[in-house]
Symmetry: C2
Amino acid sequence: MAVTDEAIRKIKDMILSGDLTPGQRLPPEKELSERLGLSRNSLREAVKALEVIKVLDVRRGDGTYVTSLEPELLLEALSFVVDLHQDHSIIEIFEVRRVLEPYAAGCAATTISDSDIIRLRNMLDSVDASTSVEDLVTHDLEFHRLINRAGGNDYMANLLESLSSSTVRARIWRGVTQEGAVARTLEEHRAIVSAMESRDSEMTRSWASIHVGGIETWIRRAVAGSNEKGDD
Amino acid sequence: MAVTDEAIRKIKDMILSGDLTPGQRLPPEKELSERLGLSRNSLREAVKALEVIKVLDVRRGDGTYVTSLEPELLLEALSFVVDLHQDHSIIEIFEVRRVLEPYAAGCAATTISDSDIIRLRNMLDSVDASTSVEDLVTHDLEFHRLINRAGGNDYMANLLESLSSSTVRARIWRGVTQEGAVARTLEEHRAIVSAMESRDSEMTRSWASIHVGGIETWIRRAVAGSNEKGDD
DNA sequence: GTAACCGAAAGGTCGGATGTTTAGTATCAC
DNA sequence: GTGATACTAAACATCCGACCTTTCGGTTAC
């Protein structure tokens, strides 16, 4: 295509070459547009595109900056995309989770701090079968996030977080609640924490696998069911 | 923030609610901008942003369409982001690959077709230690792509493809070539294919693990080395 | 020393004009 | 009738210039 896409590429190249470093401020739109040889409007389209994928940070009245480019930030954009995936992809996404989460949990079993284990315990104590769906989603998100981060691979943790967007999580917990399976699911959470407390990588991995795998099976059934009803 | 971001959200919502379906054409920019209550310029920024993450497809002289929203398309945008990651993240990214690829390869061992195995064999025969770096990168990309796709999880395959962007792959193979380790690396490729030929999931998985793990180790050394030289 | 003020700079938004490309239609040659 | 060609309307691409709002930092008043 043309000028705007070229501008995107040029800005990316400036970052890759080191002309622009994380945190650095870009020239004003007017100046940059002149330098890159396009109008301010067109440049703004390029900047906007780089902003939504968290490469640039535009501060009104101040200037435009290169973000930290941390995986956390860049992968955040991925959740926007995951939201758009349909039933079919949801299953595949879950299979990815099923492979990665047990691995991360297993790593975490040997590296997690005692204080983090206490935090996990407190989380578990704050929910039960009578907790609202919204709170269960929040709990679930924080629970898995803490474990994933404790695994030591930030990229993997962020990736997993993006893969299980809140809208998907909400849908799942709504289903889990309807099936009255909340207690069992939370029991699995407890088993994971217990295994980590024992610093048992293998058991942690297995419980995490059972936990995510169980939800995956539930989703497969749910999707198959909605397809039968023609709700594809 | 403001009008542009709101427009992005509204368009996303239209897709999520089913008002806009994959392949459908959006109203002309002028009309849509009026309907959403913002200027055409601002709307274009929103459209551009959704275009770079492959949600919209803008065809000049024709119109703007919702893409297929296939994972393949949406994850493609991820490689843009992966390109921007630095040494530190590269290692973490590779650890993700090391977990996922053996799994995918193990699945593929039981599902891959005979003709695909033949294609893999042909690929292997087309390269050796004297092949150029560029061709090795292409070979490597196609080799792993075929196996990952044969694993049956398209989302995972696309994710893996995005995670190992071509620039990263190029960097790796340049290093592998310099170390004279091309023959050994290609030998690992052969071992993976042989295991798949025997329909041996376990062996396939193990060889894939050894293969990716070996490269990961090499990268860790390379990054550590460049850090020592202050080339961070 | 502090707080309020002010102005320059930067991004946010807009409207309109003009260029380019595309799809579709109408027309013409065979 | 069929195929190729020419035309036209629609839609995106790009630009210009204007004006608004926000932010930062220096200045002034107390």
